[in-house]
Chain length 349, copies 2
Amino acid sequence: VVDPRGTVAEAGERALVDRLRDRLGATPGWLVTGPGDDAAVVESVRGRLEVLTTDALVEGVHFDRRFMSPADVGFRALAVNLSDLAAMGATPRLALLSLALPDSYRLSEFDDLIGGFLELAARARMALAGGNITRSPGPLVVDVMAVGCVKRRRALERRGARPGDALFVSGTIGAAAAGLDWLRSRVGPPGRDDLAAEPCGDMQEPVRRYRRPEPRLRLGRALADGRAATACIDLSDGLADGVQQLAVASGIGFVVDAVSVPVDPAARAWFERAGVDPLQAAMSSDDYELLFTVSSRTRGPLAAVQRLTGGVALARIGTATREAGLTLRRESTEEPIQGGFRHFGPAPR
Amino acid sequence: VVDPRGTVAEAGERALVDRLRDRLGATPGWLVTGPGDDAAVVESVRGRLEVLTTDALVEGVHFDRRFMSPADVGFRALAVNLSDLAAMGATPRLALLSLALPDSYRLSEFDDLIGGFLELAARARMALAGGNITRSPGPLVVDVMAVGCVKRRRALERRGARPGDALFVSGTIGAAAAGLDWLRSRVGPPGRDDLAAEPCGDMQEPVRRYRRPEPRLRLGRALADGRAATACIDLSDGLADGVQQLAVASGIGFVVDAVSVPVDPAARAWFERAGVDPLQAAMSSDDYELLFTVSSRTRGPLAAVQRLTGGVALARIGTATREAGLTLRRESTEEPIQGGFRHFGPAPR
């Protein structure tokens, strides 16, 4: 029996792999060889294309251990990858998990990280098919590779938007940035080990959305299967960046109506109290919503999608233009959309 | 025009991705959506199973920038993954590359790392299908996910060895460890930036084998296609570890004949000069050779494999036993095989 208060370095790589394998449920039939061999062997789905993506969370760049529990880190590491699959309209099948762990990381923290990861994996009905565990002489790094499948000619790409297409965004934006702001405002100086105080009231939901974003898998799949969108991207770097990405890939521009952008009410209140323009702040928030375009031909299918995906609100926020360039239309003014340039990763947190 | 002496932080993530995409050749037809979208979309091979693996190189754990050039790091990061595919008998198709780069990493170093990676990718006829680039507040981390394919019921697993099977290893072992030793003996104190002096004479080949291991893709594929092996693993953690892994997975033991183990001559001379038992040192060397078992039924196919794979030497080094346990048979003594326990990653280098 291993003491969970011990460190991962004391336990050793093999014990960690065993510990992880003990947590896995029954292996699906299509997973011919699962974790524990040199590689995973997988039966592909007849008539489907494979969709593959990878995204990493690096401590000190993408998260701060003072206000993200290990389970939050595991959950979020998978969520950001599933959001990429959602943006392609793919159905998740499996993931590989590659961990670089500081020697001092506790076994109990390792267990919790795996737990957060597997919680979302179970919800998305996908298998952890393999991975890698190594030491890190620096930050905790959680790298995930997720694989899904999509019907032929149904994948949602960034490049299909055409002039005149309507621009939609799912859910609300700004909550993740407000939640992160709140968490940052609550932690002490770097080096403090204790998790920030838990939020209550209006900030609970923004904090939850920062720590545990919900990838829009059902919506993405419905948009793809119903051929309802001409182009799609997830908001992993905010709305301003997403609009720019769609514009560049499709060779068009966008006019966005400020009044239509669905800023989360709690986030709006938070930013207003802080003296920050809520719309600008919300437009660089990584909410993992889907941003997509719909042609006049596909508005019928979109109505069907809306029925299928139930509770997810879809807001029409703008229109694609023949002219390149991104314009934000306020009540009486027009301004170029700022913040569309993504720097070398987010600023250290 | 960007100055290659500048840093990756100055260039920004988008410029890095563009720089990388400019280096990619023509996209194969089966790569429906390549780098630049939320995820890659891939046509699978009819009648084949998918094989997926991931392995990371972490600076300070798996390599030292003082004696691995960026191109070596890029090459080796892909090689260790392809070795896993080789051990399954798979043919590589594509890779995803996930980089965490220190802010001070130079653009020219980034270019060279990509160059080393793409050099091996081209040789293995595979595509770089996507990836991720982020900052690292600590070490350089190069995480690779490689995907290949293999015929149904042909994948080489670890668990198929049976009592009486003959144990084989490809090539020679010990060179990688000797090369690493030589490099370590040549570098100054940590913090020195210059690359270690280049080896000449007998140590050239061991150093090359440490920096740029050659995954045994052709051999692995021939073993799989010819149904010549009952179990297989690559020597990513040395022969002692590999023997133990095969034994545990197959529920058997092994007797290894010391005299038959093909220790690289230059490595043997190096370890003898250092007063180290060459066999023990060679048995924990990460040479990325293949270790596999052959039943009496499959010795005919093995002869065919040997003809197909041309120059690769295959040495019979032992026999699988019904009794668990690993025995090294020296000229007049028998001893348990040591070093079969892999610690939490290799010691810091």
